[in-house]
């Protein structure tokens, strides 16, 4: 198992390197450090000197790939690529381009806030969606099923923005059941700030979730082993909730587990609307301030988490599916 993990992680490296090179090309070729400096310093009335100073302060004055002014290994390390991109592999995210704060520390500080929202949403939505989907699958091809499907498609067709804006207006402004936005890290107070974003997020996910899981259940219900289970005399409940569910969990796993690491990235929209100081909000701030260093860090972190998620999926498969065993 251990050697498998090592191999799997080694396999992830070339992909992360690809991500890194892509980002580097995007941020340092399509856009140059000079452009960046101009944007941040304000486009008008900046002197070349100010730009040069800014670039030196933020280490953007170095050559991009190869520094011929230095001797090996500094030829490679004293470059923007090494300093800005390769350092990400060591999880050294560097400093913000705008206010020079330590990005790594900021990420660490904000992760718990993001998890406050995403973790409960993840667990509750998984449970609710699967349960509703099973009930719908139980009543397949009946009036209940058709109605549920139409409602799901309708709910899927509504942008999360509307759920947030509408929910915020209805529950916070109109009914005054919860604060409009804000955050309090003190425990019991946290809940009242979290309840609304969590509920809204659940409502937003239910349409797509139920419809997807229903399709998976229906696929399983038509398999031969389900007929065998019925022929044994098992009740429809046991057939569905034991035999079909256990098999349906396999495709669900791939879709669900890969998102687990992403939970720490938070949700851009929810955090922004409800003023939760997590990573989602951090990203939005970085966009409005044009803070390239933070955006690069978040993109790399996102890819890292995605690949982490893929590895988690494979590990969980070997546990859940007896047909797959790791040598």
């Amino acid at each position: 198992m251990f050697s498998y993990l090592v191999r799997r992680i080694a396999y992830a490296f070339p992909i992360l390197l690809g991500v890194n090179i892509l980002l580097f090309l995007l941020f340092f070729f399509a856009y140059t450090p000079e452009d960046m400096a101009e944007t941040i310093l304000g486009e008008k009335r900046v002197t070349q000197e100010q730009i040069d100073n800014w670039m030196r302060e933020h280490n953007y004055h170095l050559p991009r790939f190869i520094n011929l002014a230095e001797s090996f290994p500094a030829t490679l390390t004293r470059t923007i690529f090494w300093q800005k991109s390769m350092h990400l592999f060591a999880l050294e995210f560097g400093h913000s381009d705008v206010d020079n704060t330590d990005i790594g520390a900021e990420i660490k500080r904000r992760i718990p806030y993001s998890l406050c929202v995403t973790l409960p949403v993840f667990m509750a939505s998984l449970m609710i969606n699967i349960m509703v989907a099973m009930v719908v699958a139980f009543y397949r091809a009946t009036y209940i099923d058709h109605m549920a499907l139409v409602i799901c498609v309708l709910m899927m067709s509504i942008s999360l923005l509307f759920y947030i804006i509408g929910g915020q207006y209805l529950f916070a402004i109109h009914l005054r059941l919860a604060p409009v936005s804000g955050f309090d890290a003190q425990f019991p107070h946290t809940i009242k700030f979290l309840i609304l974003p969590i509920v809204i997020s659940l409502i937003g996910s239910i349409g797509g979730g139920v419809r997807y899981y229903r399709t998976i259940f229906l696929e399983e219900i038509n398999r031969d082993y389900v007929r065998t289970a019925r022929a044994k005399g098992l009740g429809e409940g046991t057939v569905l909730f034991k035999h079909a569910l256990r098999n349906a969990l396999l495709p669900i796993l791939t879709n669900v587990i890969v998102t687990i690491p992403f939970l720490i990235m938070g949700s851009l929209l929810l955090e922004n609307f409800f003023g939760i100081p997590g990573l989602g909000n951090y990203t939005i701030d970085a966009i409005s301030k044009q803070d390239f260093a933070v955006i690069r860090a978040m993109v790399f972190l996102g890819s890292l988490l995605y690949i982490g998620g893929l590895i988690l999926v494979e590990i969980s498969y070997t546990i859940a599916d007896p047909r797959i065993r790791i040598q």
Binding site: R7, A10, Y11, Y225, R227, A231, K232, L234, D321, P322
Partner: protein, 596 residues
């Protein structure tokens, strides 16, 4: 003998977009205690739906029982509350299915699935349930049942899984076992194991069996009474000897005439090929597939699908390769028509080695060697008109003008027994047998010399199979073809081939003129294989039942590959690999062939 199950005027129907389908259309029969009643018929005759109706498992909501009566002992099953019906299923009436590979739940151990039945109907719990499950596995002939009980279905072979299914079905000693094509997906040697097991358990437990099958031989050897179904109706019912000697209904007569026989004269009309003129020589052919694992896809093992094979095919002859699944016969075909690149050896076509030719050099041979495939439903491109399908080969090889090609396609279509004006149709508008005819037209349109028929009739109903075999026989003479006929069905091969090679685990164990090999097999495997074929006209032969399964070609046994399953194996067989010993056209690869 009292009656267990009485079915009276059963109608089971399906709602489809095209309208109502009467899958079962007024079937009546009864099943008596301890007997085996067989329902036979071709696909779509409604025999499986009759069985599912008894179990009340007709696929909902499209299918439903429209009317009729199914009485089990003194209870009417139609309209029985679901709770009561569940008490009967698996307990009084149980069922096994065709596809043992998918009928078991892949994520539960077989023990778990067995215990589930015992828990449900007998209230057994914990240790008692486990030991009952182990007993049951032992009963159905699974070795080391106390370990196997913890296995998952994928760890067992197809035959073993069907044994587990039988164990599950018989765990509660039901009064009726419904067996829906229980051996159709299995190889013939495994089939005889399973049929023997079923009949042994039947005499022990006194279970009545409702056997559903398309295989007349299986019926003849296992049933007490037989019902013949056609289009949802029961057209004839009789005990086997009466049915096979004096069939009453026209359809039964036609069906019986179509079954390829293992004795008596064959129906071939075409001439035996010219022994002098060799068309294809395969020399020491090997096809090894590496098993790759890990990051850099290192090869960690080899599947020896074909492992040193020599054959010669003469001009104008039909050469057959027979063997069970996994023996490598299909791989041989694909190496010859170069869908695969052989790992080793020569494929000499008219004296030219084509085994290592690349795309361009191979092009002329792509015309001269053609193939007819097994599955009529996947062998034609569903999005292409059949005219285009037939002409595609001529177009590829620059034969004629577009108008010529269309004319020839129409002519070919007529030659294979379809109307020439159907060129604009799509494959889904044709039946399985018609599609197979289209496949033949496609192959013959480019005027090949050699046609490889890979299980070309295996997925067809027996009456259609007979027509296709006849067509192939006519075309052979007319177009001067040679056939390489690849099949698992010895009875079919006996009907069509001049010479035969029997394969086991990637090697030929015996080869020679078909009649000689089948009437007087030398190799122990050939003997078992031939004796295992169920037949209508049983001549009182002794069935040889081989133990165990075919070993994996990734890890073949040492010495003679057949030795672990061979009753005559001696020490030498474990160490020394036999070679094909020639004896006047007959060749046998057995160290003990002289003594046996």
């Amino acid at each position: 003998m009292s009656t267990l199950l009485t079915i009276n005027d059963l109608h089971t129907q399906f709602r489809t977009p095209e309208g109502l389908v009467r899958a079962v259309d007024g079937v009546s029969f009864e099943l008596r205690e301890g007997e085996t009643y067989a329902l036979v018929g071709e696909s779509g005759s409604g025999k499986s739906m009759t069985a599912l109706s008894v179990m009340q498992l007709v696929p909902r909501p499209a299918g439903f029982i429209a009317s009729g009566s199914i009485r089990f002992e003194d209870r009417e099953l139609i309209g029985l509350p679901p709770v009561e019906m569940r008490g009967i299923r698996g307990n009084d009436i149980s069922m096994i299915f065709q596809e043992p590979m998918t009928a078991l739940n892949p994520v539960f151990t077989i023990g778990n699935q067995l215990i589930e039945v015992l828990k449900l109907h007998q209230g057994l719990r914990g240790e008692a349930a486990l030991s009952a499950a182990i007993d049951m596995l032992d009963h159905v002939g699974i070795a080391a049942p106390d370990q196997r009980v913890r296995d998952f279905p994928h760890q067992l072979s197809g035959g073993m899984r069907q044994r587990v299914m039988i164990a599950m079905a018989l765990a509660c000693r039901p009064k009726i076992l419904i067996a829906d094509e229980p051996t159709t997906a299995l190889d013939v040697t495994i089939q005889s194991q399973i049929l023997e097991l079923m009949s042994a358990l039947q005499s022990e437990l006194g279970t009545a069996i409702l056997l559903i099958t398309h295989n007349m031989g299986v019926v003849a050897e296992n049933a007490d009474r037989i019902g013949v179904m056609l289009d949802g109706k029961l057209v004839e019912e009789a005990p086997p000897n009466q049915l096979f000697t004096t069939p009453q209904h026209d359809y039964t007569k036609k069906l019986l005439a179509a079954v390829p026989s293992m004795t008596g004269p064959t129906r071939r009309k075409s001439e035996i090929g010219n022994r002098k003129s060799e068309m294809l020589q395969v020399v020491d052919l090997k096809m090894h597939f590496p098993i790759r694992k890990g990051l850099f896809k290192r090869p960690v093992g080899t599947v020896r699908a074909v492992d040193g094979l020599d054959i010669n095919i003469h001009r104008g002859e039909t050469f057959a390769i027979v063997g069970e699944s996994g023996c490598g016969k299909t791989t041989v075909g694909k190496c010859i028509n170069r869908l695969l690149d052989p790992s080793h050896g020569q494929v000499r076509f008219d004296g030219h080695d084509i085994a290592s030719l690349k795309r361009v050099g191979l092009q002329p041979y792509r015309q001269r060697i053609q193939m007819i495939f097994q599955d009529p439903f996947s062998s034609l491109d569903p999005r292409m008109r059949i005219g285009a399908t037939i002409s595609e080969g001529m177009q590829t090889h620059n034969i004629g003008t577009p108008a010529d090609r269309t004319a020839r396609a129409a002519a070919m279509l007529e030659r294979v027994g379809l109307e020439g004006d159907l060129l604009e149709r799509y494959p889904h508008e044709f039946s399985g047998g018609q599609r197979q005819r289209i496949g033949i037209a496609r192959a013959l349109a480019v005027e090949p010399d050699l046609v490889i028929c890979d299980e070309a009739t295996s997925s067809l109903d027996v009456s259609v199979q007979a027509q296709i075999l006849e067509l192939l026989d006519e075309l052979k003479a007319e177009f001067g073809l040679s056939y390489l006929f690849i099949s698992h069905d010895i009875a079919v091969v006996r009907q069509v081939s001049d010479r035969i090679a029997v394969m086991y685990l990637g090697q030929i164990v015996e080869t020679g003129p078909t009649a000689e090999v089948i009437d007087n097999p030398q190799h122990p495997y050939t003997r078992a294989l031939i004796s295992a074929v169920p037949r209508i006209d049983d001549d009182g032969r002794q069935q040889i039942i081989l133990p165990g399964d075919v070993p994996s070609p990734a890890n073949p046994p040492s010495g003679c590959r057949f030795h672990p399953r061979c009753a005559h194996a001696i020490d030498t067989c474990r160490r020394t690999a036999p070679t094909l010993e020639s004896d006047e056209g007959r060749q046998v690869a057995c160290l003990r062939s002289a003594e046996l």
